[in-house]
């Protein structure tokens, strides 16, 4: 009633006239409102919209990379974000690099693959060996309500039953529809890249030249608790406010190939100059690759272990109980779920167990 003119009438107003308690509260509230209004006054702003628009229009535009990234975050600048991106959504590239016998790959279970940031960088630099194009651009959007996130992604937004202690209830939603990337291998480009690295290309399967690897990722939806904001200046991550908890859900990525099988593609890609022997060995160590989704875990993120989620589902727990960072990932009915944040591992498991 203090600052809403429409409320100054009817039953409430009559009650206020006759109730001493309410009158006293009204006086306090209106006093607060007046005081704060006075303190928050600011000099009038005179803006030149045309020149401001010119500045914004000429600002360098960011282009989507081959790999997903969360909005409002700088890839590579934040280990936690990178961990999330690799663990939940940006698994497309490594997912394609799995040995299997057919031309189609849809994962059902998870296997941890420790990687270094340099390994991941080398995977994202496939453009040196062919052409990468998006037939459906990833369009991640940040929205303010679960309903909007649902509309964009078509996925039900997971509900967190109880937040771990210390996690802000301020929530932002990120959502995107399906995105499809096509990588077309070029022997000439690969040879040039190899020459630049001072080596030659290994023997390649016939048919690899011009072969296409199609990766479909998403749709995806994420709830982000805490504030995600860019550093106020530069890329100093100590100035950034990192999200405390991210609960994500994405349809498992699907990879198909033409001319050669995905396993041949995978072997050829792994044999290219720049891929570390560690990553190659880790991927080759996967037991049953036809149904396994490897989750690349940056080595900085610590340990990983098996965990049972919601009583029956085999999942993967990352990190430890120090609170520095932990997460849980699992697959249920072809959908990959992830709970990752600056929380303890046990808290992440609790959130996962109670997710509806």
């Amino acid at each position: 009633m203090v600052d809403e003119p429409d409320a100054h009438g009817g039953v409430d107003a009559r009650h206020l006239e006759s109730c001493a308690d309410c009158k006293a509260r009204y006086t306090t509230v209106s006093g607060d409102a007046r005081a704060i209004s006075s303190l928050l006054t600011a000099p009038e702003l005179k803006v030149d919209i045309a020149s401001a628009f010119n500045r914004v229009r000429t600002a360098p535009a960011a282009r989507p990379r081959f790999g997903l990234r969360l909005p409002m975050m700088r890839p590579g600048s934040r280990p936690l974000v990178l961990a999330f991106a690799t663990a939940v959504a940006a698994i497309a590239l490594v997912a394609t690099a799995i040995a299997q016998d057919s031309n189609t790959f849809t994962p059902q279970t998870l296997t941890p693959v420790p990687v270094t940031l340099a390994d991941m960088e080398s995977l994202s630099q496939l453009s040196a060996y062919g052409t990468i194009s998006w037939t459906k651009q990833p369009q991640p959007q940040v929205v303010t309500s679960a309903a909007e996130a649902n509309t964009i992604s078509g996925l039900p937004v997971p509900k967190v039953a109880a937040l771990p202690t210390g996690v802000s209830s301020t929530v932002t939603y990120a959502a995107m529809g399906q995105a499809t990337a096509v990588f077309t291998f070029s022997k000439d480009k690969a040879a040039a890249a190899a020459a630049q690295a001072g080596t030659t290309l290994p023997a390649l399967p016939s048919g690899l030249e011009g072969a296409q690897l199609t990766v479909t990722v998403g749709p995806a939806v994420a709830e982000i608790y805490g504030n995600i904001t860019k550093p106020s200046s530069g890329s100093d991550i100590t100035q950034a406010s990192l999200p405390q908890l991210i609960v994500g859900e994405t349809t498992a990525p699907v990879a198909t190939s033409s001319q050669v099988t995905v396993v041949q593609f995978e072997n050829s890609l792994l044999a290219l100059p720049g891929i570390s022997p560690e990553l190659k060995a880790a991927i080759k160590a996967i037991g049953d690759p036809s149904t396994t989704l490897p989750v690349p875990i940056p080595v900085q993120f610590g340990t990983s272990s098996s965990v049972t989620i919601q009583g029956t589902i085999q999942g993967l727990a990352l990190g430890d109980n120090t609170g520095v960072g932990a997460g849980v990932i699992w697959i249920k009915n072809g959908v990959v779920y992830g709970v990752v944040g600056t929380i303890k591992r046990d808290d992440a498991v609790n959130v996962a167990n109670q997710l509806t």
């Binding site: 303190l39 600011a42 702003l45 803006v47 628009f53 303010t144």
Partner: protein, 177 residues
């Protein structure tokens, strides 16, 4: 050829929508940031970053565009307020500006000190109540505040009252209120 023509048309349409959105909302978005930062240059800096972020990730014709911009402006400005070095510089600049404008040094000092304290208190508050105060003080209606923060319109009044009480309690002891 036809595909290319269609793409160009789509891009133009989106650019046109973005310019319309910018024209309609820029002053308000900068105003929200200015309410927090009390510095035109910094406020416009924040507003332009917010629009760039929005344009990078969203369609300008999205229904939620104004709400997104308002919320982002409040949070970005509050976040910037928390940067201690910038805050110190701003306070020095602010004090100088105020002393240029006022004829009563004592009164001016009080006003300046109150504003400094209220902004320090804002920076210490939880993001949501701080944003409620800033958005409402910037002239947004209850419905607009509700949309920006993703809460029901019925909650805005309560959120606002609590935030006002919390902020006043935080600053009253040290201000001339």
């Amino acid at each position: 050829m036809e595909l290319g023509a269609r793409r160009v048309t789509t891009e133009r349409t989106d650019d046109g929508s973005f310019e319309a959105l910018f024209t309609a909302e820029y002053a308000r978005v900068a105003g929200i940031a200015n309410r927090v930062l009390m510095d035109q240059h910094e406020a416009e800096d924040v507003a332009q970053e917010v629009f760039i972020d929005f344009h990078r990730l969203h369609s300008a014709s999205a229904q939620y565009a104004p709400a997104w911009l308002h919320r982002a402006a409040a949070h970005a400005a509050l976040n910037r307020l928390r940067g201690s070095k910038r805050r110190q510089r701003r306070e020095v600049a602010q004090a100088t500006q105020e002393s240029d404008r006022t004829v009563d040094p004592q009164k001016l000092f009080e006003v300046s000190e109150d504003r400094r304290q209220v902004r320090q208190a804002l920076a210490r508050m939880a993001p949501k109540p701080a944003a409620v105060l800033v958005l409402r003080a910037s002239g947004l209606s209850y419905a607009e505040v509700a949309q920006a923060l993703g809460v029901g319109i019925g909650q805005v009044g309560t959120l606002l009252r609590r935030a006002e009480a919390a902020l006043r309690k935080e600053v009253t002891s040290g201000t001339s209120l």
